[in-house]
């Protein structure tokens, strides 16, 4: 003990605290509850719920606007979210992207 600490900047473990953007899929029922998920457990449940809430809200308000959607793709610089409507719920795919992949 002590030697690694003596080397000041090694092995600080930045990954432990920073949230990585997740890669995986989750499904939501019509009430917004997460039924199944392949997202890593390190990704906070609150974030999954927030993604799900945005997706369901968009799908529902589209239905109210007389443009019922079956699929929704949201592209960020470093993340892609794809949602498919499933009888009031949705299946959501979350995919991190490099800057090159996401360029227009």
């Amino acid at each position: 003990m002590g030697f690694l600490n003596f080397i000041p900047f090694l092995g600080k473990g930045d990954c432990e605290k920073l949230e990585r953007l997740p890669s995986g899929t989750f499904t939501l029922d019509a009430n917004g509850a997460v039924i199944s998920s392949t997202l890593p457990q390190s990704f906070p449940a609150a974030r999954i719920k927030e993604i799900g809430r945005c997706v369901l809200h968009s799908l529902r308000s589209a239905r109210k606007a007389q443009v019922p959607l079956s699929e929704l793709h949201v592209h960020y610089s470093t993340l892609k979210i794809i949602a498919r409507e499933m009888r009031g719920g949705a299946v959501v795919f979350v995919m991190p992207q490099t800057i090159e992949e996401s360029s227009y």
């Binding site: 000041p8 473990g13 953007l21 308000s61 993340l79 800057i99 227009y104």
Partner: protein
């Protein structure tokens, strides 16, 4: 010689702070001082009270992580250069940091050579601010920049880009001799380039052999161009809030051009800041779609901020009878609806073409 701006290092490792404060103080001579902060909150407080030219930030920090700090600083202090210095070898974090607007991303040096390179890079960053040239030219119009070049009797080529569009202005000893953009040349090209509300420019070495096509004085040309822009704005249809349009594209006539694109059924333009409907084409009542689009864009933008996923580039959606593609041009959000026979990929590409044309 030290300048007036300072360097701020943000890291939760006190030994690291002490070492790099010493190294930067010794080697970056253009910095007035090197300050340190152990938390994001402390760094933000220092940014409010001190003139910080470069903020060096670690990603892994207690309470407020580096990505959060970067997104706040980029919004509140856009002039501050941001440098990530982390031990994290991770492509995703590098991509996210660049997407949030950092200038450089460095892995913490492990050898003297790497440390030397890092210090040189910081010196170069500070010199860029303290030395030749100005930052903050976003407050100057292209007309101002051209006038400055003429007053300085420059012989140069100004290369101006606006979205996907590019234009060039040839100056010889302070006189504008030619302009070119897309298929236009001469005064018409100059007027087109001057109508671009924003963009970037760079000064290239001059070309005195360029044939002269512009013989009017620069003042006369600027006056004519300003009048043409004013007339175009005054002829624009009034907005919902009663105000006149503040920039040229996109306006009614431009939306009307959408009929030229195969498969386009209707379109909607919202103000990106207020969410108010600016224009629509091909729809009887734009309100329901407008309301959905405003809420959806707002919520997914907020989600992107929460996830630190960078800028929201576009939304594509499939409904029973059409495809929707949403993106932004300037400060406006644009939704274009396509026939259902279009694929999302085609819709995306067509929207891209439309926005490029509008931007130019």
């Amino acid at each position: 010689m030290a300048g007036s701006t300072k360097i701020l290092i943000l890291d939760d490792d006190e030994d690291f702070l002490a070492l790099y404060q010493k190294l930067l103080s010794q080697h970056v001579t253009t910095a007035a001082a090197v300050l340190t902060a152990g938390t994001g909150h402390r760094a933000l407080a220092l940014l409010e009270s001190e003139q910080i030219g470069v903020l060096i930030v670690d990603l892994n920090l207690p309470k407020m992580d580096g990505l959060q700090v970067i997104s706040i600083v980029r919004r509140k202090h856009p002039q501050t250069r941001l440098v990530v210095l982390t031990s994290l070898h991770d492509e995703q974090f590098r991509a996210r940091a660049y997407a949030l607007g950092v200038d450089q991303y460095w892995i913490k040096p492990e050898t003297d050579h790497e440390t030397g390179l890092f210090l040189e890079a910081m010196e170069a960053l500070m010199r860029r601010d303290a030395g030749i040239g100005f930052r903050g030219v976003q407050n100057k119009s292209l007309g101002d920049i051209v006038q400055l070049e003429c007053l300085a009797q420059s012989t140069s080529i100004l290369r101006i880009t606006h979205g996907a569009a590019e234009g060039r202005l040839w100056l010889v000893r302070g006189e504008l001799i030619d302009a070119e953009t897309q298929s236009l040349t001469g005064e018409a090209a100059f007027q087109k380039i001057l109508s671009w509300p924003e963009g970037t420019f760079e000064s290239l070495p001059g070309d005195e052999t360029r044939p002269r096509t512009i013989f009017s004085s620069i003042q006369g040309l600027l006056l004519n161009t300003a009048q043409a822009i004013d007339e175009a704005v005054s002829q624009a249809p009034p907005q919902e809030d009663g105000s006149a349009a503040t920039s040229l594209p996109p306006q009614g006539p431009v939306l009307g051009d959408l009929a030229d694109y195969p498969g386009v059924e209707c379109a909607l333009v919202l103000d990106g800041e207020t969410g108010a409907t600016r224009d629509h084409w091909g729809m009887q009542d734009p309100r329901p779609l407008s309301e959905w689009m405003r809420k959806t864009v707002e919520e997914f933008r907020a989600l992107g901020d929460t996830l630190h996923a960078g800028e929201m580039r576009r939304i594509l959606a499939t409904s029973n009878d059409r495809k929707l593609a949403i993106s932004s041009v300037g400060k406006r959000d644009v939704c274009v609806a396509f026939q259902s026979s279009h694929t999302l990929e085609t819709a995306r590409e067509t929207l891209r073409t439309i926005l490029t044309k509008w931007a130019s």
